[in-house]
Amino acid sequence: MNGDHADEGVMAALSAPADAETLRRLHGRLEREAEQHGLLDVAYTVVDSPVGPLLLAATTRGLVRVAYASEGHERVLETLAQKLSPRLLRAPNRLDAALRELDEYFAKRRRVFDLPLDLSLSRGFRQLVQTRLPAIGYGQTRSYREVAELVGNPKAVRAVGTACATNPLPVVVPCHRVLPADGSVGRYVGGAQAKATLLNLEAA
């Protein structure tokens, strides 16, 4: 009988999971040391917002990705690991400035984002469109055709639509300010509801 107890006791002690607080502390230390050693290629965090949980990711160059829950955060992280680097950790510190500016934006205390952006997830014409979108000011909207004209390629209306749909930095790069000419809200990476929420926020 004693032997059975000993059996359970030894096995239980060896297989007892580490407590969550210890693992949290160790994770925090890993975040700091990875940053210090230049090994934190991509840092991310998830934050609640009026348009649902947003995933924010940054390289050392700047904010590289904002993702809606509807995009599947797990899948987004896998794509970032593939396209940028698998050295990817949940490390909110690097996102401090982005978190602050988004907070201010949603509290209507900020109209322009003033953050270093890393546009390396898009290329060519799409990247060009995304670079120009911030020219559409807070509370204003443009049609896809107008944006095509803005980037100097008036026939590329459909390509502008694709550039908006594949914007890796929604909210911060304001593709929500681009609307179909028919007066509807149109499609949006975070869903039409999220687009309407942002437009209402800026219009109020």
């Binding site: 030894v10 096995m11 160790l26 990875a34 593939q82 698998p86 990817l88 950790l89």
Partner: protein, 161 residues
């Protein structure tokens, strides 16, 4: 496709910490855990996609633990005296200290075999590759290690009741 490193920490962080506990025979394995994951993060882009990630992490943990044990032996006094009163506060079940002490006193081969088989769940053939010798020897070392630990545990229980 290589998963984000965060996923490795989430899935294997706990096992690696318990392996470090057993390898070092102490509840304070923070340094070994941190060095293991930092080394792993550095090497991760070069890891083949087909690799067994947990076995890889355990291999790194083993090297870090060996370094740590060497460092402890170079300054034997603090290792013997420090784990008394102050550290017990952070230990969930302070009575397990006895068990950790017996783990610490196991012969090296037994302690490693217990860590790799009973904590990390590695098959004996892989343990043999890791520590040298045959799979049978690894099996015996793990069994002897557990037998030794049980003896200590019974003694302790006997003393407590």
């Amino acid at each position: 496709m290589k998963p984000p490193f965060e996923k490795l920490v989430a899935e294997h962080g706990d096992t690696v910490l318990r392996v470090c506990h057993v390898l070092l025979g102490t509840h304070d394995a923070d340094d070994a855990w941190s060095e293991t994951f930092l080394s792993a993060l550095r090497a991760y882009p070069q890891l083949p996609e087909t690799a067994n990630v947990e076995a890889w992490l355990v291999t790194i943990a083993r090297r870090r633990a060996i370094d740590a044990l060497r460092a402890m032996k170079r300054r034997p006094l603090p290792a013997e005296h420090l784990p008394e009163a102050p550290t017990e506060l952070g230990v969930p079940d302070a009575t397990d200290d006895d068990l950790w002490r017996s783990v610490r006193n196991l012969p090296d081969k037994q302690r490693q075999a217990v860590a790799y088989h009973y904590v990390a769940g590695l098959p004996y053939a892989e343990i043999a590759q890791l520590v040298g010798g045959s799979a049978d020897a690894a099996r015996r070392a793990a069994a002897d290690g557990i037998t030794n630990l049980k003896k200590t545990y019974s003694r302790r229980r006997g003393a407590a009741s």
